[in-house]
Symmetry: D2
Amino acid sequence: MPTPETRAHLLISCPDRTGVVAAVTQLLWALGANIVDSQQHTEAEDARFFMRLAFDLEGLADGMDALRQAFEPVAQRFEMRWQLTQAARPKRMVLFVSKQDHCATELLWLWKRGELQAELPFVIGNHPEAADWTRPYGIDFHHVPITPDTKPAAEARHLELLQGKVDLVVLARYMQIVSADFLEALAVPVINIHHSFLPAFIGANPYAQARRRGVKLIGATAHYVTPELDAGPIIEQDVHRVGHRHEVEDLVRLGRQVERTVLARAVVSHLEDRVLVHGNRTVVFD
Amino acid sequence: MPTPETRAHLLISCPDRTGVVAAVTQLLWALGANIVDSQQHTEAEDARFFMRLAFDLEGLADGMDALRQAFEPVAQRFEMRWQLTQAARPKRMVLFVSKQDHCATELLWLWKRGELQAELPFVIGNHPEAADWTRPYGIDFHHVPITPDTKPAAEARHLELLQGKVDLVVLARYMQIVSADFLEALAVPVINIHHSFLPAFIGANPYAQARRRGVKLIGATAHYVTPELDAGPIIEQDVHRVGHRHEVEDLVRLGRQVERTVLARAVVSHLEDRVLVHGNRTVVFD
Amino acid sequence: MPTPETRAHLLISCPDRTGVVAAVTQLLWALGANIVDSQQHTEAEDARFFMRLAFDLEGLADGMDALRQAFEPVAQRFEMRWQLTQAARPKRMVLFVSKQDHCATELLWLWKRGELQAELPFVIGNHPEAADWTRPYGIDFHHVPITPDTKPAAEARHLELLQGKVDLVVLARYMQIVSADFLEALAVPVINIHHSFLPAFIGANPYAQARRRGVKLIGATAHYVTPELDAGPIIEQDVHRVGHRHEVEDLVRLGRQVERTVLARAVVSHLEDRVLVHGNRTVVFD
Amino acid sequence: MPTPETRAHLLISCPDRTGVVAAVTQLLWALGANIVDSQQHTEAEDARFFMRLAFDLEGLADGMDALRQAFEPVAQRFEMRWQLTQAARPKRMVLFVSKQDHCATELLWLWKRGELQAELPFVIGNHPEAADWTRPYGIDFHHVPITPDTKPAAEARHLELLQGKVDLVVLARYMQIVSADFLEALAVPVINIHHSFLPAFIGANPYAQARRRGVKLIGATAHYVTPELDAGPIIEQDVHRVGHRHEVEDLVRLGRQVERTVLARAVVSHLEDRVLVHGNRTVVFD
């Protein structure tokens, strides 16, 4: 089922005030749009309103600018932060990888099946062998080695490859900390997968930490990357039951299944414009 | 957090047509309502539209009739089936029980904690010992024995107790088949819990059937009762992992946990006006 | 299915050496026992061996001392820590409660159904209203109020009630920290339920912490109590999916379901002699 | 962690009699073996005993025949059906595929990572495009088209490729019914993945059936293939939550995740000698 050319996604957040829903739906109706999905949420704590609308509008592909102009007055009236996208237009997504292929392979496989609304111009990795993973999918691979000494140069190279050419970066078990400067210069969302149920087992070797603590579940967390390590807004989490029989290597092996599932779900939610960030939390509409 | 007196729930289903959402939200805005939650769904197969709105309106308690009158023209224009309820007004719910207390006890306990938006005027059972379960909760118990011979008389007695006095009947492991005539005369929804993952293991002794078939998961299904046995619209289902170590009695014991959880979730969804029936399926808004 | 009078449980841990299994099973065979279940585990890290055997032996009830004497030489030869129990003999279990009834009610209900191999001589609580929860089950309630000032006196009263009269204490949402001195004097296992997925959200108000961090799963942890708060060996954990719609109160409400399930499973595992402690971890045989 | 060369797996089933465990462990001890894992189960219904032992024995690779001879008297004494394998010796596994790659890709990926104790000499498929899936893994592909008319010839070709050269066949969404004659002639286990929670939705288009019935969970079932369609012993099952938003295509897409996970777990259990068949059920040791 390809996404229809006429389908748009509208994401809104604004102070919660009477009349927002009516104003938005009234405008869309006046423009001839048909709302096919609508979800909303009000955050009680700071009275902030969040909404996702999916609608169909004839001639959308050529009319995105006009639509944005028509919406601007409503947006200003309610002090909205908003984002309007043509659903059928794929986002440009780049994967960062290291030595572990499971998360990258999962995304590449889903992409090849047509389950990701994305273009994959290339993959970046700090180890050369990752070229082998991308070749069967016909995707370019850029090898950018990185050491503590060469990190600034490597990040400069990353920016050269990425700036203005990408809508989303996914750290598919990249295992390197990206700098605050890089994030700021990149200026597009970066999704990371952390191999624990955050905030448990922050930092290195979470499965060894989990084994030491004797937990009965291991987990994984997909989150947007922020300058503060392992503290960005969580998009998705899941867990897998473990027991005393499982050595650290078993946790690592079982964890791979959870990691790739959780990362894939988070990426799909992002690509389908289902995620809104609110401070260090997310609103994820189904 | 008690439900505010001003809160209303509006459930709508109608043919899918442009302008429904705009018309409804525009009307509510004009009346001064604030929409606090909104979910919708379009069934592609027959182009039918479903919506649930929760909104706050000052003076709602005294203005329900006026509100219904104001909504009627919109409802007619779009050929809606609709239901408008005051969220703070508890539904009158009656439990039917037999010899197993787990499902009834779960609901009674949730009710006592204030987690069910319901009144519980009494419980009906075909075995006298159930009186012991209801006594600690201060709820009346009506013992109505039933045998194949006395079934018509028993159902007549049920109707005498229930007609016009109840909004929902819950068969909390009642283990008796209710007749089509009774359902028609009762004319309110009846929710049943079936001790299998329907449509697997329809009929009697589903756990023995499950053990014989060697399944690795057992389940439970909460559904609206229809004249056709075990075939009504499913509201909720869940499963529990089992293995070769589990005898039939273990499946029964583990199954009790799933049954009471699944039934409780289904009852809560119904009481919060989250369920719309569509043929032999349901739309359940979160 | 009552546990047969002839059933024994043998729990063993010892350094991993060739011949342990043969020596134990040979002895049991020579005594005329029939092994009905056997599970073992070797901890690679410190080469420690763990085993649980369930077996049937005629005349067990009168022969426990003789059996222990017969086993002693084998135990010494392999430097075992071991425990032999008659499975049909209920353990004496006391619940500590506070203001929240859900965990206690779950255990009382399972106990009344005969699903716990335990005697429940009484319940201890620091708030008087808990008497209402125990009355329908015909169980005595001792009200022992506790404040920072009266804590030593209260714990002395606890010990007076418990010492030598109990095999297990369960903190069923007791919400008080028990002192190291109390634990030492009590000298029987104490199981606690913590309302988070430990080690995430240690300490007070874990659901508020979870909401602030924006996690997508909430959890509960049952563990043996040690002098170090929230750090004892974990017996069981589970989680429940949550989202942006869930306020702190919703997390508390959903968490109650997880807490009572997790605590009940841990208590059942303990009562069935399925748990061995190994440092700050547990071996839990199915 | 490669499996040590000294590791053996012993699977036993026999009538339940006192002394089995002692006899087996005594023998292994006398031979100098160290038991590293042991699990057993007695089926109450027909008093049948099942056991899996993993043990280490020096010189195992050259001593398998001697070991079998040493075990034979014990096996005869207790009327055992038994199987002894060298754990480090990979099983020869062949995949049958059709047009859907997800199950095959999952197994190929796990195999390449070294997570399957198996050789993969080749893959057989009835559609030519599957060659593209196997090429990146360096595995041969045999294209054997099949139509109702050519089925006997195709199965003859399959047997020519397989007989005596394979220990396990996996139908990785092969979508063809294999004949009873083929199964008999092949004479090794065949594992299939069925895209429903059997016994619900037997036969064709289970996801369309599931959507029609309005179930809230979809599932998958891995089972040994028997002449009776969809009725063989179940090895593993799992489910995924779905709702009214999910069209048949969504169920198919989500189902793919469950199918590949369930099939992979079943194959791993089989390859690690954890599965014993008992009538139309299985005993699966963890």
